[in-house]
Amino acid sequence: MSRITAVFERLRAAERKALIPYVTAGDPDLGTSLDILRAMVAAGADILEIGVPFSDPMADGPVIQRAGERALKNGVGLADVLSLVERFRQTDPDTAIVLMGYANPIEAMGRDRFIAAAARAGVDGLIVVDYPPEESVDFAAAVRAAGLDLIFLLAPTSTRARIEQVAGLASGYIYYVSLAGVTGAGHLDLDDVLHHLEVIRELTDIPVGVGFGIRDGATARSICTIADAAIIGSRIIQEVEADPVHAAARVGHFLSEVRAAMDQPATNAA
């Protein structure tokens, strides 16, 4: 069983939901990134999504774009992100780690070389934003063979046929993008998310995490009444951006509040 699947099994048994924070590696620097990752775990994160900087992040909003630009200015590339994971793994064998990024840095390293290096470093799953299922059949097989999960995005515009196609290739969890647009946009519509999650659940048993638009404990809590995980990205980068020196502490503080809201007994819900 993969580390990601184990996380979801454990949480299901405890009737809790997964908290999945995202942070861009190398923003403001790799050392701080390591501190942020550890602070996230201390605050109750179950799976960590680590963003791999890319010069042309087509699916990201301004907040994550800026984080990527800061990281690139520091010269942080895919190989550095893998070293970061390796360092994190030395003290944390349990928390699942997912790398999230774009296809080109992976292809520049070489797909097979990357997959092997990621597995060796202790990565558990991959999200390649611009590898849709029809371009990923071989890649998905190689990722699976290395014991990693390949996580796909689904959107409000995804058709039933599309969901089936993704369900056939995905493992670990499915990342449901709660709204049309880019990361960090607007606020989400719970009824709409609920409706789409019902369709997804009809077609697959893989856990579904919801991201894009989760900004605080309250939204994370409500999203988790219907989803298996709350994914938070831009809101965390804002903490880093606001005070890079104390980034880890700020992120930890913010996530603790989210975690507390998610874990509040159901009877206390408004």
């Binding site: 890319f54 630009e69 690139l72 080109n104 590898y131 959107a155 058709t159 880019v182």
Partner: protein, 403 residues
């Protein structure tokens, strides 16, 4: 001729030209691209659509564009005869309008009332703003803030035509970043918005669709050249940034093996300096802007900053069909530096009375180089893809003048 064309039927159903092209986008855009591919499939063969497009070409653009024999320049070079396909005479001053009309007609049929576009030099932005004005559509053009500074007059033209020009401050603040931003807008406003991509790049069906709308250029040449010279040309030469004017003139000629196709990339300060935009000459395959193609990138897979005196060629990628034509050997790709392009620009002004766009001047520079090496009975057809009015400030600055 139809038999010959039948041998080349790329891309495949998912937009692949051999290993290039495809659909590499986030899930948020997949449905919109499916919808677009279906609509295009339906209308490309629709007689009413084709009739309307031809009518727009004739009455709004001024097609067919003539072919012109650059006799004085050819004489001075003393070799092959150079002919120009005069896309510079089109309404709005370049080939870009051919494609924007086609896509805007499609947008209307799909019920989208808002069009967006990316632009580098501003020619595609102007062409999009033009057709949006004519069709009464809302228009937003994304343009890198660096390009806005370089191309002030085109920014003003777009505004006159009623478009909103949105300044892009991310990344290198040029064409590639404008494309990223337009994609983000599209993902956000996908229900009512049509994204008019200006070149033969992007995810399928764009490379195919833009090529098809631009193919009118080559189709006309195939009719016109025998009338002017008694035969097809020996060489067809066009500049390549993203590659839409080149693909437009190349594609109908692909089934003519005796016609050499040569794309000319921007070598900027020189390929060896690293300051250029020659993706096919000096790049490696990768994935950017929704397709797999040759890219200018570093060893980490980050897209690197490009340079060219012509903003329209200043792009780190290239249309995937060019990547395929290069690998297959059907077309060859050369390059011309800023200085070579400028020299060709000035020569063309003085000898032919035509002020070419700096983009097209790259094709002229290579054609002049080639003509010298060939005998007088050879024929070179250059796609003069645009006029140079927009480039006055750039050229004047290089000459130490202010206009």
């Amino acid at each position: 001729m139809n038999d010959r064309l039948a041998q080349y039927d790329l891309p495949d159903a998912r937009g692949h030209f051999g290993p290039y092209g495809g659909i590499f986008v986030a899930e948020t855009l997949v449905h919109a691209l499916d919808e677009l591919a279906q609509a295009y499939e339906r209308y490309r063969k629709d007689p009413a659509f084709i009739a309307e497009l031809n009518d727009e070409f004739a009455h709004f653009v001024g097609r067919p564009s003539p072919i012109y024999h650059a006799r004085r320049w050819s004489d001075v070079l003393g070799g092959a005869q150079i002919y120009f396909k005069r896309e510079d005479l089109n309404h709005t001053g370049a080939h870009k309008i051919n494609n924007t009309i086609g896509q805007a007609m499609l947008a209307r049929r799909m019920g989208k009332r808002r069009v967006i576009a990316e632009t580098g030099a501003g020619q595609h932005g102007v062409a999009t703003a033009t057709i949006a004005a004519r069709y009464g559509m809302e228009c937003v053009v994304y343009m890198g803030s660096e390009d806005i500074k370089r191309q002030a007059s085109n920014v003003y033209r777009m505004k006159l035509l009623g478009a909103t020009v949105s300044s892009v401050e991310s990344g290198s603040r040029t064409l590639k970043d404008a494309l990223n931003e337009a994609m983000r807008d599209w993902a956000t406003n996908v229900a009512d918005t049509f994204y008019i991509i200006g070149t033969v790049a992007g995810p399928h069906p764009y490379p195919m669709m833009v090529r098809d709308f631009q193919a009118i250029i080559g189709q006309e040449c195939i009719e016109q050249m025998p009338q002017m010279t008694g035969r097809q040309p020996d060489y067809v030469v066009a500049c390549v940034g993203g590659g839409s004017n080149a693909m437009g003139i190349f594609h109908p000629y692909i089934p003519f093996p005796e016609v050499h196709l040569v794309g000319v990339e921007a070598a900027g300060d020189g390929i060896e300096t690293g300051r250029h935009s020659a993706s096919l000459t000096a790049g490696t395959p990768g994935v950017l802007h929704g397709n797999r193609t040759y890219l200018l990138q570093n060893s980490d897979g980050q897209i690197i900053d490009t340079h060219s005196i012509s903003a329209g060629l200043d792009y780190p990628g290239v249309g995937p069909e060019h990547a395929w034509l290069k690998d297959s050997g059907r077309a060859s790709y050369e390059s011309a530096t800023d200085s070579e392009a400028l020299e060709a620009f000035h020569t063309c002004c003085r000898l032919e009375g035509i002020i070419p766009a700096l983009e097209s001047s790259h094709a002229l520079a290579y054609a002049a180089r080639l003509a010298r090496e060939l005998p007088r009975d050879k024929v070179i057809l250059v796609n003069l893809s645009g006029r140079g009015d927009k480039d006055m400030p750039t050229v004047a600055e290089r000459s130490g003048m202010v206009v």
